[in-house]
Every structure is written in C-alpha cells, then in structure tokens.
C-alpha cells in the first residue's frame, strides 16, 4: 500500500505544480455558485422572455445531478490527462514494473482521487443543490457518480494511444453522461435503450427516489470498469 500512497502523493505534487489541483478544487465551487444562483436567474429571464410560468424549474433535479457528477468527473478528467501524458512519455510502463504495479497505478491515479471526490461532491451538493435531497440518496448518488467517473477515465486512457486521441475521446466521453437527462424526457420503455449507461440508473435513482436502482447503477459501472481495465492492462503489455 505504501508505494501506491507514494505514487498518489507524486500525482498530487504534479498537479499542484501545474496549478490544476487548485483549479479542480475551485471549478466545482464556481460551478456550484453558477448553478445555485445563475439557473434561477436564467429561469426568471427565460420565463419573462417566452411568457411562460416555468421552463427550467421542472429540471432543477437534473441540474443537481450534473452538479453531483461534476466534481468526480473533473477530478478523474484531470487524472486522465496526467495518465495520458505519462503514457506518451513511457512513464506508465515503468510504473507497471515497480512495486506499484498496473493495478496500483490505477488505484493511485483514479481510485484515490475518486474516493476523495465523493466527499467533495457531497459538500458541494449540500451547499449548492437546487432541490431537497435525503442524506442516503445524496450519499449513494455521489458514490455512484465517482464510480461512473472512474469508468469514463478508463475509457479515455484505454482507447487512446496518445494525448491527441485522448483529448478527442475526451469530448466523446461526455456522451456517457447522456443517461442523466433520459428519465426526464423519455417516459416510455424507449428509455431503457440507455440502460447500459450507469448515468441513466443514477438519474432513475434520484427521480424515482428508489434505492433499488442503485443495483443496476453499480452493476453497469463495474461492467464498464472491468471491460475497460482489461483493455488498459492489454494496452500496457
């Protein structure tokens, strides 16, 4: 465990030198401010412009879901960029043959940051959420969001061969979050076409306030991680 901790400290040192550590701490706070105060203001302006009673307010829960996912997503995206740079500079292969190992490398670069981001996400949600959340649903949502973010990062680092492909794929990984708005806009059985996306089940869990949806969310997240981790290991060997 000690080499993995050292590897994690190395990662923290690297992103603090870039200033990215502080930026990734500040970004969810700024986004939280923007969501908490900007969206109700935009709602008032839009309602005035289009002459309607409510436009965005029906989707405040959706904004909250994006806010919950944002912190782990940003943290894991930063980790992915570091991992892509390390892969380009052949550092990853060197790490894999040290006591850290391939699994330890993933733990230090993705799992540790994701676990920390759960607590950050909970705090951000308590301060800035637009709707009222029960404590268990909030905790489960934030934990599942961080699992989803690990899967997104693994997708990025396992399929790209260099940082250019990584950035291009980074744009596409946002599609994994497309499951979040699905339960808000599709009400028929068609919505289950998105059931492979963990984000869909996270949204279902919050919309229907049903803990059972945590099971498919967990299973789909682990399925993504299992497949992508296998691919990442194959890429390194």
């Amino acid at each position: 465990m000690r080499p993995i901790f050292r590897c994690f400290v190395m990662f923290l040192r690297q992103i603090s030198k870039d200033g990215m550590l502080y930026a990734s701490l500040a970004a969810p706070l700024l986004a939280g401010f923007a969501f908490r105060f900007g969206i109700p203001a935009a709602e008032a302006a839009l309602c005035g412009y289009f002459g309607k009673a409510a436009i965005l307010s029906e989707y405040y829960l959706l904004f909250d879901l994006f806010l919950a996912v944002m912190t782990p997503y940003i943290v894991c995206f930063v980790s992915s960029l570091v991992m892509l740079t390390e892969y380009d500079e052949n550092m990853t292969s060197y790490m894999a043959v040290t006591p850290v190992g391939k699994r330890g490398y993933i733990v230090s670069r993705l799992v540790f940051p994701a676990v920390i981001s759960i607590f950050a996400s909970v705090i951000i949600m308590i301060i800035f959420s637009l709707t009222v959340w029960s404590a268990p649903i909030l905790l489960i949502t934030c934990a599942l969001s961080s699992l989803l973010s690990i899967a997104v990062s693994l997708l990025l680092v396992s399929f790209s061969h260099n940082r250019v492909e990584g950035m291009a794929l980074g744009k596409l990984t946002g599609i994994i979050l497309m499951g979040l708005p699905v339960p808000f806009f599709l009400f028929s059985g068609v919505q289950y076409l998105f059931s492979i996306l963990p984000s869909f089940w996270i949204a279902k869990l919050s919309v229907e306030d049903n803990y059972l949806y945590a099971i498919p969310a967990l299973l789909t997240s682990f399925l993504w991680m299992w497949v992508l981790y296998g691919r990442f290991v194959k890429k390194l060997s």
């Binding site: 992103i15 870039d18 990215m20 289009f50 960029l81 740079t85 940082r163 250019v164 291009a168």
Partner: protein, 227 residues
C-alpha cells in the same frame, strides 16, 4: 507549394486521430438535439452550439496537437526545415477551420440559420482561426495538457461570456467590437454584418500575428538549445 503540403499533413493528422469521426458523431447529436428543442429556441440554440463547439474546437485541441508534436520531435524537424512560422500557423488554423466550417454548415442548414452562406462561412472560419490562434499561443508556452487546459479558461471566459450576454440579453451595437459577438452577428445574419466582419478579421489577424511570434520563439528553442 509548402503550405499546401503542410495543410495536407495536418488534415491527414486530424483524420488519423479521429477529429473527423468525432465531429461526424457530434454533428448528428447536435442536429438531433436541435430538433428536440421547441422551434422558437432552435435558432439561438444552433448559434450557441456552433459558437461553443465547432468554432472553438481549435482552443480545445491545439494544446494536445502541439504537445504531441513536441514529444514526437516533429517540431525539431520543422525547426530545421525551410517552413516559416506563418506557414506553420496558417496550416494549423486552416486545417481546423475546414472542420469547423463544414460542421457548422451541417448544423446551421437544418436549423435554418444559413440565409447568407458567405457571411456565415466567413464568420465561422475567421472565428475558428481566432480560437485556434489563441490555442496555439497558449500551447507554445505550456508543457503539460493540464497547464494548457487551465490556461485556456480565462480565454474562453473572455471570448464566450460577452457573446452569450449579447445573444440573450444585451444587444448594444458597441459590443460588435468583441470577436465573439462579431461571429454571432455574422452567423445570425442580423444587422451590422460588415463592421462585424471587419472587427473579427482584425482580431483574427492580431492573434495570428501573436501566434507567429510565439511559434517562432518555440521553434528557436526546441531541443533545449536556443537557436
């Protein structure tokens, strides 16, 4: 012609690393989203989509492209070749400008905002070149992707926020001096297209000039030795 070959090389590079494929998928996604919106929202949504993604793609990708070229020692070869910094910059800007313009047209035509194709194409192409030039200036001065992403945030805020404010709320003519607003005026085909075109051209030329200086400085210092 050197610039033609550089341009072909950059287009090939972008094709190989999936830029065309990704923007093909995004175009389908954006068009699908546009038709999911009520008709009254469609025009503004299309302009916002074009301005925030295809037109601004250079600012997002330039860091990865330049840093990759640095790590693969492509810049070392360019530094000792007869390629001039202006040719290098124009090739990068035009290659990305082509994707931006094609994708913007593909989104704009079904949204019904392309009433004057010439001003629309000029607006998107110049705006794309300006974003790419800003990205290139930042990329020349950074060493990691994280540094690049971080450094682009102020540029994004300075270019995007006034343009979004103009699009939704504050339509004062003096804001035409802002490059983002100029691009939106050209795409929305609203009044003031000629001054908007002049201002956008001047901003683009200014950033291209600064980018040439930054590339020149970078090419003279690749490999750890200042030439």
């Amino acid at each position: 012609m050197r610039i033609g070959k550089l341009l072909m090389g950059d287009v090939h590079f972008q094709f190989k690393y999936g830029f065309y494929f990704i923007y093909f998928l995004f175009t389908i996604l954006y068009i699908g989203l546009l038709f999911a919106f009520p008709e009254s929202w469609r025009q503004k949504a299309a302009i916002l989509m074009i301005f925030s993604d295809p037109a601004a793609m250079g600012l997002y990708f330039m860091g990865a492209i330049v840093l990759f070229e640095k790590s693969e020692r492509v810049l070392d070869s360019i530094a000792v070749s007869p390629v001039k910094p202006l040719e290098y910059v124009l090739s990068k800007l035009c290659s990305i400008g082509i994707i931006s313009t094609v994708v913007s047209l593909a989104i704009g035509i079904p949204a019904g905002i392309v009433t004057n194709p010439i001003t629309f194409i000029l607006g998107v192409f110049l705006c794309s070149c300006m974003f790419s030039a800003v990205g290139l200036i930042i990329a020349c001065k950074t060493t990691t992707l994280n540094q690049f992403v971080l450094a682009t945030i102020p540029a994004e805020i300075l270019i995007n926020i006034p343009a979004i404010i103009w699009l939704f709320w504050y339509k004062e003519s003096w804001l035409l001096i802002h490059p983002g607003v100029s691009m939106i005026v050209l795409c929305a085909q609203s009044g003031g297209a000629f001054p908007a075109l002049i201002f956008l051209f001047l901003w683009t030329a200014l950033f291209v000039f600064i980018a040439c200086g930054a590339v020149n400085k970078m090419l003279k210092s690749v490999g750890g030795v200042k030439l």
